[in-house]
């Protein structure tokens, strides 16, 4: 029985490795990887055309290199499980798409791609700090940042206007006042306070940061959550929660989309899938057309410490267990080649935006005026664990939804704001203590 390993002889490996520098698409050495296989695990990108473009890229790279490429799609949470299985077993895939902390958690099982990362970074004006935070471990690149999905305030312009609000609030005080007015008009806002793997994070961390709160000191080990700034953030949240649509503490990732598209919610924090779904259905569904025409996107309000955001970051994870390193490199070079990535990003309508400093000058931004704001949103992201570097403790806190629960406990009255802060700080201390021990 032929296995993956048997297809790659020593001679072929040497020949392929020698060919790697030539593989900068489109100048891929013809058939240099013939007989090898590459399995790539990916998620389902929201815009269908971007999935088709990825499939076509695989066909092109396979044709040029001679290797057999298999693209396998999984849903977001299932992709995480499958990736963990590949990391644990060393079987099942050569490349996978991961999320924020995967690189940090799986670093020993990932290949070093520092040379490739530096080469790609130069082509785009350098990597943004979030990309470095998400992909570098111990000063080495262990993954490549695919991009981030900026979350914006999605809001109904018509319902805001009916409540006497003519622009999306610029401060948290204004947002609180707007929430009261909208609630009085029976068009409440809603922020995800449930254990949603994406929205739970992107909705709640920015509130903490805007008020000046932080999880850790700069050393990344000293818990700094219990502070007057965190308390101010929790008190604001507990107040604004009174004017929310009911049920937000149970919201998972699809629920705010559902509430907004169902006309039950006038504003929520989400990526642009709400708008893209409404716009796509406008031709056949008058209700969706109405929403698409009457909604827009806004920036996070400014808090005392500034304006911040937390986005889902996706990374390309090159598994060290792969028997086809040249194939991994060839595929990643082709992905990050401008001839592909610029077109792919523009087709994606800012659902996923690559994390390079030079993005502004590229023709990647959608023409739709309601998506223009995503160019500014792309610069706001910060990784969880602030003010420390990304750490396993911060990742564990994210996975346990401690910050989300801190806000939720105060909002629902289960704990007073000060008690909720102390509870969350204790949870963080326990994580740090456990990991130190």
């Amino acid at each position: 029985m032929e296995t993956k390993n048997s297809a790659l002889t020593r001679r072929r490996l040497i020949a392929s490795a020698a060919a790697v520098p030539l593989l900068a698409t489109p100048a891929i050495a013809q058939n240099s990887l013939k007989g090898t296989k590459l399995t790539v695990l990916v998620g389902q990108f929201y815009v269908p055309e971007t999935n088709a473009m990825l499939d076509q890229l695989a066909v092109d790279v396979a044709r040029d290199t001679g290797m057999e490429i298999r693209i396998e799609r999984l849903a977001g949470d299932e992709l995480g499980t499958k990736t963990a299985a590949v990391v644990g077993s060393g079987r099942g895939a050569d490349l996978s798409i991961g999320v924020e902390f995967d690189t940090l958690l799986y670093a020993p099982k990932l290949a070093d791609v520092t040379d490739l990362a530096e080469e790609i970074g130069k082509n785009y004006g350098g990597w943004m700090q979030v990309a470095k935070d998400a992909c570098m471990v111990g000063g080495r690149w262990k993954s490549l940042c695919l991009g981030q999905a900026p979350a914006a305030w999605n809001y109904r312009v018509d319902q805001f206007a009916a409540a006497g609000i003519n622009a999306f609030p610029d401060t948290f005080d204004e947002l609180l006042k707007a929430a009261k007015l909208l609630h009085a008009k029976n068009t409440p806002i809603g922020m995800t306070l449930g254990h949603a793997s994406g929205d739970g994070r992107s909705t709640n961390y920015p509130v903490l940061w805007a008020f000046g709160g932080k999880e850790f000191e700069a050393d990344g080990k000293t818990v700094a959550l219990d502070s007057p700034q965190t308390l101010a953030a929790v008190e604001w949240y507990a107040e604004v929660y009174k004017y929310f649509i009911p049920g937000t503490t149970a919201w998972l990732d699809p629920d705010n989309n559902q509430a907004f598209l169902g006309g039950k919610c006038s504003a929520t924090v989400n990526v642009n899938t709400i708008y893209l779904a409404a716009r796509a259905a406008s031709g056949t569904n008058p209700a969706m057309k109405n929403i698409a025409e009457n909604m827009n996107h806004g920036l996070w309000p400014r808090g005392p410490a500034g304006r911040f955001a937390s986005y889902n970051i996706n990374t390309w994870l090159p598994f060290a267990s792969s028997q086809n390193r040249p194939g991994q490199m060839a595929f990643l070079r082709a992905w990050f080649d401008k001839s592909f990535l610029v077109k792919w990003t523009k087709t994606g309508q800012s659902y996923f935006i690559p994390t390079f400093e030079g993005m502004d000058s590229l023709d990647v931004w959608p023409e739709d005026p309601k998506l223009k704001i995503f160019k500014d949103l792309n610069k706001l992201n910060r990784l969880e664990g602030f003010a420390g570097p990304p750490s396993p403790a911060a990742a564990e806190a994210v996975s346990k939804y401690i910050l989300v629960d801190m806000f939720a406990k105060a909002c629902t009255g289960q704990l007073k704001p000060a008690e909720a802060v102390k509870w969350a700080a204790r949870e963080y201390e326990q994580i740090v203590k456990k990991r130190a021990g």
Binding site: R73, S89, D199, P286
Partner: protein, 284 residues
């Protein structure tokens, strides 16, 4: 006096029969009703916040058409049937004799083996799936649906063995002994006397084994990568969600249709299960 007694009986029936029955129906049928209603709605109705979600305004089969035309649902169904059937058959073939041996034979360590088999069943798949991937890779079955055919019996056989051992213990040994006095071998007595009496237990074990393998998720997700080899529980969720957007109509249509074979198995075999129960036993 008679009127009071009748009213009391009516109240008793309402409280002790219809109320529990109604609650059971609500919890058991409710999810299926929700799936059916959502699957039959148009996308516009699904997101319509102005009307009750409990009824269909504009019935449509669009989501079922989408499921069959735009996804690999038929392939997933065939895959699921194949692995569930093979898992059920192999677990019965291995588990029934094993259960008989644990219940009837006396050999050193029989209690320990029985307990060990039960404990094996209790180990969660979330702990086992990574080592199991390595085992499958070592025997050349990684990334193949055949891995499920091999792996499912690892949790089904202990379950069937444990269930059948308990069932065999309820069958009086005197029946078997009388058969052996009449000249049957142990195997003959097992085949001609014990197994027919154990039919309800075998059917129960088979039904549960089929359901467990039909709904299994973690192994089906982690051991199989190719979309053409996925089972319904994995295929439906993977292909009918994009980012944070779920295609509720086709998802519910897939969930509804995916549960039909299990419902049919219960429908047909529960009948025989009941008749098996009444046919067994010892005449005094």
């Amino acid at each position: 006096m008679i009127a009071i007694t009748n009213r009391r009986r009516t109240l008793e029936r309402a409280f002790f029969l219809y109320l529990p029955l109604g609650l059971a129906l609500f919890f058991l049928v409710g999810p299926f009703y929700w799936m059916a209603v959502t699957a039959l709605k148009t996308d516009g109705d699904i997101y319509d916040g102005a009307h009750s979600p409990l009824y269909v305004l504009h019935p449509s089969l669009d989501h079922f058409v989408y499921l069959f035309a735009k996804t690999n649902f038929v392939t997933w169904t065939l895959n699921t049937m194949a692995v569930a059937a093979s898992g059920t058959i192999s677990s019965l073939v291995l588990g029934v004799p094993a259960g008989y041996a644990l219940a009837r034979l006396r050999f050193p360590g029989v209690e320990l083996i029985g307990t060990a088999i039960f404990v094996t069943y209790l180990v969660p798949t979330s702990l086992l799936f990574i080592p199991m991937i390595q085992v499958m890779a070592n025997i050349g079955l990684d990334d193949s649906i055949w891995a499920l055919v091999v792996v499912y019996p690892t949790f089904l056989v202990p379950f069937v063995t444990w269930l059948m051992a308990s069932y065999f213990r309820t069958i009086p040994t005197e029946l078997e002994e009388s058969g052996r006095i009449d000249g049957l071998t142990r195997l003959g007595a097992m085949w001609h006397i014990v197994l027919p009496l154990a039919r309800p237990g075998i059917l129960s074990a088979g039904i549960f084994a089929f359901t467990l393998s039909w709904n299994e998720f973690i192994y089906a997700l982690t051991l199989v990568t190719a979309s053409s080899e996925r089972t319904i529980p994995v295929g439906v969720i993977v292909q009918l969600s994009r980012g944070d957007f779920y295609f509720w109509g086709p998802l519910m249509a897939g969930a509804l249709l995916g549960s039909v074979p299990v419902a049919l198995v219960y429908y047909f075999f529960v009948d025989q299960y009941a008749s098996g129960l009444t046919a067994g036993g010892v005449k005094g």
